[in-house]
């Protein structure tokens, strides 16, 4: 325990997450609705990641990783289901463009990140 603890441990009335949750949500909505793949994926990652951060900071969870993984799973399921219903290229009743795909990719990335965080970061800190 040589390192100093985080901002929100030292300062009871500060938290770095809310600002980025707001930005992440905005980028995610913008990206998904305007079908801008990179913005959609990036925004969703930012949103989910920061939600994980704030949940563990507030003490609702011990670490952020399960929460991020869980939300990632939800996004992946929704994205894949939408892609199955309305396939790429406009086969279904609606042409979703790359929207569903970007949601699914973001979800899978979240799940991967969660796994990575759990394995790498937590192992590092136990050493």
């Amino acid at each position: 325990m040589e390192e100093q603890s985080g901002l929100s441990d030292r300062h009871r009335k500060a938290s770095p997450w809310p600002l980025f949750i707001a930005v992440g949500l905005a980028l995610a909505e913008l990206g998904v609705f305007l079908d801008l793949v990179s913005i959609a994926i990036g925004g969703l990652l930012l949103f989910v990641g920061c939600l994980g951060g704030i949940v563990s900071e507030a003490g609702y969870a011990r670490t952020p990783w399960p929460f991020i993984g869980g939300l990632g799973l939800v996004l992946a399921v929704v994205g894949i289901a939408l892609t199955a219903l309305y396939p790429l290229g406009g086969g279904g009743a609606l042409d979703l463009g790359f929207r569903a795909v970007s949601i699914a990719v973001a979800g899978l990335l979240c799940m991967g990140g969660s796994l990575l965080g759990r394995v790498v970061l937590e192992r590092q800190s136990t050493v």
């Binding site: 390192e3 500060a14 938290s15 905005a26 704030i54 952020p64 136990t126």
Partner: protein
């Protein structure tokens, strides 16, 4: 070209994510979240750290979860939105000074009009009310903070993002992004058929601001229900908290609906769904859904200002509010009835007369609870010992304007009268008497009343008086002329008009510029006084003790001043000084 754009976006997005991750990793050590790994020593270590409340500098404002800081942030954002909304209307009124088009294209006029309405309702009115609620309510009810401080911060930060989305099309016009020209009601088919990218931006921004308002409302309800100090029972709850509670309840029922409607519009626009097309749900469906949100929105905006006036006006009349419980009961009555009046915005759409009749009945009934409050304020003034401070003048101005705005509204509730006056300047005049003459005035009263509390300094009374008289005269000149224009049959939302309306339009424009100049004086007063106004040494700057009318927040202020004096003017580390938010001198 398109692929290049995609790559550029991806690179930008990746950079943003890296920067955010790096910044957070720097200030927020993730390993501290694994208590087991740190050998369970955190509890011990915590005490070893110097526990300041907040970091310093800009980081403090970006990361704060303190209700007072967030209140100030809301206030600053609201002021910026007021400037934007004021600038747009100044341009519009300049164009309307002459009947023919001189200054701008009618499309630009429409875009400015849309931006003015959206900005003033969603980005000035609602946030400014939240500013007072955040700063004052925890102090009034004796709570340490809001019930969910982090959600509070999320709710605030959604607003600048929403504002950026809504305003950016004006800045990005040169890139070919057209601003929305739909009017604030965004009726389809216009809002679906217009291809302007600005409409998508606006809908997304509004959606985010709706999420923000809903999060804020949940927070206020939880705070008022669960965080009251033991000695603040329901019967001792102050009137401003009552109105905020009712308002939050309304938000909880109204804003999620707005969110869904906006998403449906977005889907109609971008994915070709048929929620609001003729062979789908129909345009009337949109109007029903929109106004089911839209009319409660009116009360969402007006109830807390009524609470402000009910709180401030008696302090300068030297006596308690007459019929406190009348005001509580009528506030709640408004809360219920406001959900049964929405179709009075649709009297001329051809809906069945029986539906219209039902809505007329409820619309006429809802006038009573509002009128009851007017009688309460008037009787409070009656034989009171009036002190005409700037906040008091704004309160009296509120009552005066509210009477005109309210009475003109009652006529509109009647179907045959509405059939004649619908979509004329009469309607514009009526609701501006409420949103500017009443809501705006009450918010100004709140700013002046709590200016010493928030800044520790006093505003300049002479400038405050100039602001009041310019606003009061300006409001009445502008909006009374609009009512007369409406009687003459001048339709709203036009950039050009027939020469016969020129005189009244010129009067309106002159009035609008009086308000505008008043607003500039206000900004100057607030800015300069905050930086170099005389310091308040007395914990009771309004001499409320004399009449036994002190409320909780001033007691808190007095304690804060005393602690500071005792420590030689420096904020200390003990509990009371911490409550002042660690302000640096």
């Amino acid at each position: 070209m398109q692929i290049d754009g995609q790559i550029a976006l991806t690179v930008l997005m990746g950079l943003l994510l890296l920067i955010v991750a790096g910044w957070i990793a720097r200030i927020e050590d993730w390993r501290s979240y694994t208590p087991l790994a740190s050998g369970g020593g955190r509890a011990v270590d915590d005490t070893a750290y110097e526990t300041q409340e907040k970091p310093g500098g800009l980081v403090r404002w970006l990361t704060t979860v303190d209700h007072k800081d967030i209140g100030i942030l809301y206030g600053i954002f609201g002021t910026f939105a007021l400037m934007w909304g004021g600038a747009t209307v100044a341009l519009m009124r300049t164009e309307l000074f002459t009947p023919e088009q001189v200054l701008m294209e009618p499309t630009t006029y429409n875009a400015l009009m849309t931006s003015h309405g959206i900005t003033m309702l969603f980005l000035f009115g609602t946030p400014m009310i939240a500013a007072f609620g955040n700063y004052v309510i925890p102090l009034l009810i004796g709570a340490d903070d809001m019930a969910f401080p982090r959600i509070n911060a999320i709710a605030f930060w959604l607003l600048p993002v929403a504002g950026t989305l809504i305003w950016s099309p004006f800045v990005l016009m040169s890139l070919g992004i057209e601003p929305a020209q739909t009017g604030w009601t965004m009726y389809p088919p216009l809002s679906v058929n217009q291809s302007a990218l600005g409409i998508d931006f606006m809908l997304l921004g509004l959606h985010l601001s709706g999420i923000s308002a809903t999060l804020g409302a949940i927070n206020f309800i939880a705070t008022i229900f669960t965080e009251r100090a033991p000695d603040v029972g329901w019967e001792r709850l102050d009137i401003f908290s009552w109105t905020m509670l009712t308002q939050s309840g309304l938000i909880l029922f109204a804003f999620p609906l707005l969110g869904s409607v906006l998403l449906m519009l977005l889907l109609d626009r971008n994915l070709g769904t048929t929620f609001f097309t003729t062979d789908g749900g129909g345009y009337i469906l949109y109007q029903h859904l929109f106004w089911f949100f839209g009319h409660p929105e009116v009360y969402i905006l007006v109830l807390p200002p009524m609470g402000l006036v009910s709180l401030i006006l008696p302090r300068f009349a030297g006596r308690k509010l007459f019929g406190f419980k009348f005001v509580v009961y009528s506030t709640l009555a408004i809360g219920v009835l406001s959900f049964g009046v929405w179709a009075h915005h649709m009297f001329t759409t051809g809906i069945d007369p029986r539906i219209r009749s039902a809505f007329m009945a409820v619309s006429l009934a809802i006038a009573i609870p509002s009128a009851v409050k007017v009688f309460n304020w008037t009787t409070t003034l009656w034989s009171g010992r009036l002190r005409l401070t700037v906040p008091m003048l704004f309160c009296i101005g509120f009552v005066s304007n509210f009477i005109i705005g309210g009475v003109t509204g009652v006529f509109l509730a009647s179907i045959p009268v509405d059939a004649v006056l619908h979509a004329t300047y009469y309607v514009v005049g009526h609701f501006h008497y409420i949103v500017m003459g009443a809501i705006g005035f009450a918010l100004f009263a709140g700013v002046y009343y709590w200016f010493p509390l928030v800044t520790g300094r006093m505003y300049q009374r002479s400038l405050g008086l100039i602001h009041f008289w310019l606003s009061f005269i300006g409001t009445n000149v502008t909006f009374f002329a609009m009512i007369l224009l409406g009687y003459g049959g001048m339709p709203r939302r036009y950039a050009e008009y027939l020469p016969q309306y020129a005189t009244l339009h010129q009067v309106t424009t002159i009035g609008a510029f009086l308000i505008f100049i008043g607003g500039v004086v206000f900004l100057w007063n607030i800015g300069q006084s905050w930086l170099e106004g005389p310091r308040v040494e007395d914990g009771d700057p309004w001499n409320l003790k004399e009449d036994g009318l002190v409320t909780q927040e001033w007691t808190w202020f007095e304690q804060k001043l005393e602690t500071r004096l005792a420590d030689g003017g420096e904020p200390s580390d003990d509990e009371t000084a911490m409550a002042d938010g660690g302000e640096r001198e």
